[in-house]
Structures are given as C-alpha cells and as structure tokens.
C-alpha cells in the first residue's frame, strides 16, 4: 500500500510483506502505487486559482456592463445570445477551475470524475430535451404557437412562428381537439385584460394603449381560424370571462359561448 500510515491487519506486521513477498492486505496489488486523495496543493497554486477566479468574475461583470454601454453610447445592440454565451462560457471556466483544483478532481481517482460527468450528462439530457420541446412547440401544431414567446437565447436567430412573413399560416394547421386556439389568442386576451385593469375601464382607451402587435396577432389568428377551422364541437368550453375587445373580421368567435 502506498499509504505511509498503513499497518497490516491484526497479527500481520508489515514485515510480513517482505517475508511473504506480497502485501497480505492487498494480495493482488490493486492499490500499489496509488497516491490519490493525498495530493497537497501548493500555496502558490491555490492563490493562482483564486486570482484567476476573481479575474474571471471581473471579466463577466465587465462584459455585461459593456453590452449596456455599447448599446447606449454607440447604438449597437449586441444579440442576446452573445451575452448569454459569453457569461455561460466564463461561468463554466470558473466552475472547472473550482472543481478541478479546489475540489482536487484533477488529482483524484478517475471514478469521481466519471461520477460527475455522468451527472452532467443527465443534466444535459434534462435541459436538452426540454429545450427541444420548448423551442419547437409551434412547428407542427400551430395551435400550440403562443404558448411561448421566442426568447431566452433569442431563438438563436430563428424566429419561429406558425405564420410566415406575409401572415399566412405555414402549416395547414390542426387547431386542437376542440377547435380552440389555446396559445396566442389567449395571451393577447390576457394583455387586453391587463390593459383594462391597468389603464382604464374604457375599452377604447385600453385599446389605444396596447401595442399594434397584439392586435395584429389577433387579426391573423382570426383569419387563420376562419380558413382552417373545423366544425365547432358541442363540448367546447370557452372562457366567458375574457373581454372581447377585438371584433374579428367575420365574427365566428364565441358562437359556442351563447
């Protein structure tokens, strides 16, 4: 055994090793030459790692501030995914420094590294498959569009929507089992509802305070729905409490309400 303090089991003094020709505590020599877990980091190394970590902290704060300054002073808006990528890369480097040297994984048995990597693989599956789901919800079923607004990483440059640039539906969409759009229109309704409580009880005033984008969204929705809507189901449940400020081009909405 490499461990200096090792003494053999009861009744077998260390001289047994010489007498027998092998270590009775480790007859197969599995642990010969192992020094793991007893690495002593030099003070210089520890201070260097700390300095690097502090430097990287300054760097990540600085880059985040720089993004704001550049946007304000020069009028250049850096895409959001750049900011995310820079911050996450620096954080990963910092984490690797801590794990490898402060936690001594670099000097440790490989088994501990494997345990950590397997854990990270699991984490990757968790966040990876969730992201695939979230990022593609509107690609096949347009009625799911609007359950999320593109964001986070800025859609990595991809603006995904059930509608193309001209406002035409990209897919001959399925509107859901009961023909009710659950996504965008609900969100638009919520915004109208919030505008009423926030600004005014007068629908006209509230409408004037809202972004045209919301109404554009509603308009496209109604056009889309008019074109592709299946026959209304008698079992359909609609939200009666939602205010109906927007009159669709051809009002088919709400026929099941009454």
């Amino acid at each position: 055994m490499a461990d200096q303090q090792h003494q053999g089991p009861a009744g077998s003094p260390t001289s047994d090793k010489e007498k027998l020709g092998f270590d009775p505590a480790d007859p197969h020599g599995f642990h010969e030459g192992e020094e793991h877990g007893h690495h002593i980091l030099s003070m210089r190394m520890l201070v260097t790692i700390l300095a690097l970590l502090l430097l990287l902290t300054g760097l990540t704060v600085g880059s985040a501030q720089a993004e704001i300054v550049i946007a304000e002073e020069l009028g250049i808006t850096i895409p959001q995914w750049v900011n995310v990528a820079v911050a996450m890369t620096i954080a990963t480097i910092k984490a690797i420094l801590v794990v490898a040297f402060f936690m001594q994984l670099y000097y440790d048995t490989k088994l501990n590294t494997m345990i950590l990597l397997f854990c990270l693989l699991t984490f990757g599956l968790f966040i990876g498959f969730t992201s695939i789901d979230m990022g593609n919800r509107d690609r096949i079923y347009s009625w799911k569009d609007g359950q999320h607004t593109p964001g986070g990483t800025g859609g990595l440059g991809l603006e995904r929507s059930a509608f193309d640039q001209d406002g035409n539906p990209r897919f001959t969409a399925v509107l859901g089992p009961d023909g009710e759009d659950t996504g965008r229109v609900r969100r638009a309704r919520e915004e109208v509802s919030d505008a009423i409580t926030e600004f005014s009880s007068d629908p006209e005033v509230a409408r004037s305070r809202l972004s045209p984008e919301v109404f554009e969204r509603l308009r496209r929705y109604h056009e889309h729905k008019k074109a592709y809507r299946p026959a209304p189901s008698p079992n359909r449940v609609t939200d009666l409490s939602s205010p109906r400020l927007f009159a669709p081009p051809d009002d088919e909405e709400g026929d099941a309400n009454n």
Binding site: V61, A91, F123, M134, P150
Partner: protein
C-alpha cells in the same frame, strides 16, 4: 502500546481513550472496520460525497431548467425583473464565496501539513465569509425587495411592474437564491462543527476526511453560485 482489551479487533480500530494517550486525536483516529486502510476509508468517504453532490447538482438542475423554460416563455418579464437586481451586491457575494472556497482549500492543505493554527484561522475566515454572504443577501437584497412588493408568486404586489408575468421571475429568483442560501447555511453549520473538532485536534496529516468532505460540499455551493450569478444578475 498499553495493554488494552481490544475485544479481538485490531488495536488500530480501537482508539485509546484520551485519558490513556497524549497523542493528538488525528493520530489515533481509526478507520472503519470494513476497510483495510485509512486510504480506502478516505476514498470511500470521498466517493460517497461525490455521489451525494451529484444529487445536489440535479436538485439545482430542476431550478436551472425551470429558469430556461420560463425565460423562453416570458423573456420580457425576465429582462425587467433582472434590472431590479443590483449587480454590485451579486458581484460582492461572488467574491466572498470565492474567497471562502479558497480558505477551505487552504485549510485542507493546513491539515495535510499539520499547521493547526492556520487551519483554525482559515476555517474561521470561511465561516465569517458565510456570515457576510447571508447578511448581504438578507439585508441588502431580500429585505428591500420584499418591502417594495417584489415578492414571489401570489405575494407579488409591486405596483410598477412593466410586465404582467414579472411575478414568475421573482418566484424563480427567490427559490433559486433561497435554496442556495439554505445550502450556505448548512455548509456553514457543518464547517462550524469541523472548526470545533479542529480545536480538539481531530484533523492532521493522517486524518482529514471531515474537512475534505465538508470542503467538497462548500465548493459545490460556490460552483452553484458561479452559475446563478450571471443567470440572475448579468443576462438581461
């Protein structure tokens, strides 16, 4: 060796009572009966701790995934909410945790080199950093925000919210930093016990498993904060 009835076990696994020995505790520290050496005992403890740390990582993984999903859904709410956080306090807390991580790593070195005085000093600095972290968190971050109505979920009552979904941001902020703060408290409690034991001479070159394992936990808390800090404070 004094003649003590070891009950048939190897003498090494039956530390003499303090009354019979003047040797420091770490020299008499036994390893568990089912291991063949201190090295095996130490490695087994460390593997066990790493396995536990993976479960901790996966606990925070849930929070990180929730962050990703809600950020994807409500980017405006997250951008608005993030502006209410003060980067200076976040950065200061990051520095404090990094320094405390350094002192824990240094205290392991001290134990390995039998520098008993420095060991206690480094552990004390770590505990002081933990206290400082919690004070900053509660006094300058939680308390003012809570008073202004920037609260999680149904308690959210901030009247000037720019986005209707901002309460989701605050729910995530409080749960992420709150669970992290809980880990800081647990880590500090464990390190406090380690400090008390170090006064009784428990840790030295031959035996420092306790510091090593507690240190791993403390470093993990640091690593989690390394990721939480940019996600909450920096990415607008």
């Amino acid at each position: 060796m004094t003649s003590i009835d070891t009950g048939g076990k190897p003498p090494q696994n039956n530390p003499q009572s303090p009354a019979l020995s003047t040797e420091p505790r770490w020299k008499r520290q036994p390893f568990a009966n089912h291991w063949r050496s201190h090295a095996e005992d130490f490695d087994a403890c460390k593997i066990g701790m790493w396995l536990f740390l993976t479960t901790e990582v996966l606990l925070f993984a849930g929070i990180f995934v929730a962050y990703a999903v809600f950020r994807m859904w409500y980017p405006e709410a997250f951008a608005n909410g993030s502006h209410h956080l003060d980067v200076h306090w976040g950065a200061l807390n990051t520095v404090i945790l990094l320094i405390s991580s350094f002192t824990v790593a240094a205290s392991i070195r001290n134990a390995q080199l039998n520098q008993q005085g420095l060991l206690k000093i480094n552990l004390s600095i770590t505990l002081f950093c933990a206290l400082l972290f919690m004070i900053i968190k509660f006094t300058f971050e939680y308390a003012p925000k809570w008073a202004e109505g920037k609260r999680p979920g149904v308690w959210f009552s901030y009247p000037f919210a720019a986005d209707p979904n901002e309460h989701i941001w605050w729910s995530l902020y409080y749960s992420a930093t709150g669970i992290h703060a809980l880990h800081v408290l647990i880590g500090a409690a464990v390190l406090f016990v380690i400090l008390l034991k170090s006064f009784k001479g428990w840790y030295g070159p031959k035996h420092y498993t306790g510091i090593e394992v507690a240190g791993l936990y403390w470093h993990l808390v640091d690593v989690i904060w390394i990721f939480l800090f940019p996600l909450l404070y920096l990415i607008h």
